[in-house]
Symmetry: C2
Subunit: 295 residues, 2 copies
Amino acid sequence: MKKSLKAGIVQHFYADDVEVNRQRNLAAIRSLAGDGADIVVLSELHDSLYFCQEENVDNFALARELPGDFTDFYGEAARDSEVVIVASTFERRAPGLYHNTAVVFEKDGSVAGMYRKMHIPDDPGFYEKFYFTPGDLGFTPIETSVGKIGVLVCWDQWFPEAARLMTLRGADFLVYPTAIGWNPEDTDDEKNRQRDAWITIQRSHAVANGLPVVSVNRVGFEEDPSKQTAGIEFWGSSFVAGPQGEVLAMCPSDKAAEKIVEIDLERSENVRCWWPFLRDRRIDDYHGLTRRFLD
Amino acid sequence: MKKSLKAGIVQHFYADDVEVNRQRNLAAIRSLAGDGADIVVLSELHDSLYFCQEENVDNFALARELPGDFTDFYGEAARDSEVVIVASTFERRAPGLYHNTAVVFEKDGSVAGMYRKMHIPDDPGFYEKFYFTPGDLGFTPIETSVGKIGVLVCWDQWFPEAARLMTLRGADFLVYPTAIGWNPEDTDDEKNRQRDAWITIQRSHAVANGLPVVSVNRVGFEEDPSKQTAGIEFWGSSFVAGPQGEVLAMCPSDKAAEKIVEIDLERSENVRCWWPFLRDRRIDDYHGLTRRFLD
C-alpha cells in the first residue's frame, strides 16, 4: 500500500447521452491522472442521467452486461492513464435481474473487483427498488495497487454497519460514489439540514473506523421525466475526510469540479492508536444488530 | 410519551468535595425544573473530580453502593422537583467489582433504571479500565414518564453499534453523560479536530437512527494528581441534536452552563418516514459485526 494517496474526484453534470458522458469522464480521468492522481473516483451511475426519478421499463436499456462495453471503455481508460478507477454502472446480470454496481479497475485496465450496492433506497424521485436488486457480494473491500478499497454506494452511506464491516475486513479507506440532491421545492433550511446530515454521517464513518472517506456526488439539476416532482438538484459537495473525520477538501454544491486530494494513509494507524475503538467493541453484546427490530 | 420534551442540561465545573458538587447539582436541578424542564441530565461522574486521571486505589473510596446515599440524594432531588433525572456514579457492586453507572430517576424519586457503561476507555489521562468493569446490563433503554431513554455514557459515544441497539430496542432519544477534554499541550488544530469528531459522531447517531441526542459534558481544567500529564481541559460543548442531526443548542466550551432545550419528539417519526433507514438494513449480511476482526 502507498503511504500517501492522491485521490482524484470527478464531480460532473451529466447529459442524456452515454457517449457524451463517457467522453467527458475520460477527459477528466486523463487530466487528473496527468496531474498525478493515483486513483480517480467517478460518481454513481455516471454514464447517464439519474434515471431512477421515474419507474420506466424503457430505462432497462441503459443497463450493461459485465464484462462488456462498460468494462472495455473504463478498463482502457485506466490502462491508458495508468490509474486506478472507481466506476459505477447499471448492471444487467440476467434478464430481469439488475444491480447498481461499482467496478474498480486496476492501472493495467483489469477489473480489480466489483461491489453491488447492498442498501437500496426508494422514496419519491429515487425509485431504486424498481431497478436494482440488493447486492449479494457482501461488504468486501477490493484489493488494488493503491490499497484495499471499501467501495460502498450512495444509500449505503447512511448505514454505519456497512462502513464498520468494510473496516473489519481490512479496508484502508472508504469510497462512496453517490447521486444525491434536493427537491427544489424544499426550503433552504431543509436543504441545509439534508446536505449537512449527509456530510456528517460520512465523516462519522471516518471517525468511528479511523480511516479516510472519499465521497463523490454528481451536481446540477435534472428534470423528472414523469413531471410528477420538481426534479432533483444534485448537490455536489464531493469531499474527502481524514481518519478523525476532518474535512480535507470539499467541492462546491453548484459547480462541476475535478480535484486531487492528497491523503496520508499512515495517519490512520496513528489515529487508531490514540482512539482505539476497535479494541473496545462489545462484540459479546452486539448480536441484536442482525435483527430487524428488538421488540 | 410526551410530544415535546424540555431537556435541562447541567454543564458544571466540579470540585474535590462530593457535598459541594451535590449541592451545586441540586441547585441546578431545582432551577431547571422551576423553569419547566421535564428531564435534567447531569454529566458523567458529577459528584467528584474526574479521578481516572491516575490509577490510585484510594479513589475506590469514592464509589457508592446502589441503593445508598447516592440514590437517596438524587431520588429526593427528583421527587422534590418532580423531574426525571439522569445521574451518573461510580458504582461499588461488590468488593473489587465497580462500574461506571448511570441511574435514571422518575419524577416520584424512584429509580426508573440503571445503565452500566459498556465500552470502557483507557488511554493516558483516562485510566478507566483500572476502575470500571465493563457493564453487563446490555444496551437497554430505560422506560420513564417522559419516554424511553437510551442512556449511554461517554466512550460509548464512539460506537455506532450502541446507538443502533438502543434504537432497535425502542429508545425515543439518546442521552450521553460524558467527561471528555483536551490535553492542554495539544495544538489548537488538534483540539478542534477532537471536539469536532466528538460532535460529529454523536450527531451521526441522531442521523442514522432518526432520533434526538442529548450530550452533557463537564467543563473546566482539572489537574493530574500524579503530575504525569498536563491535566485535562474538559471541553464542555454539551449539545442537543434533532433527528436529522441538526444541532438545536450548544453550550460554550469554557464556561459552566444550565440550559433548557425543547425537543419535538414527534419529528422523529416524520424524519424516519422520509429517511427510512430502519426499513433497509441488510440484516442478512451483518453477522460479521459480532466478530472482533474479519481476517
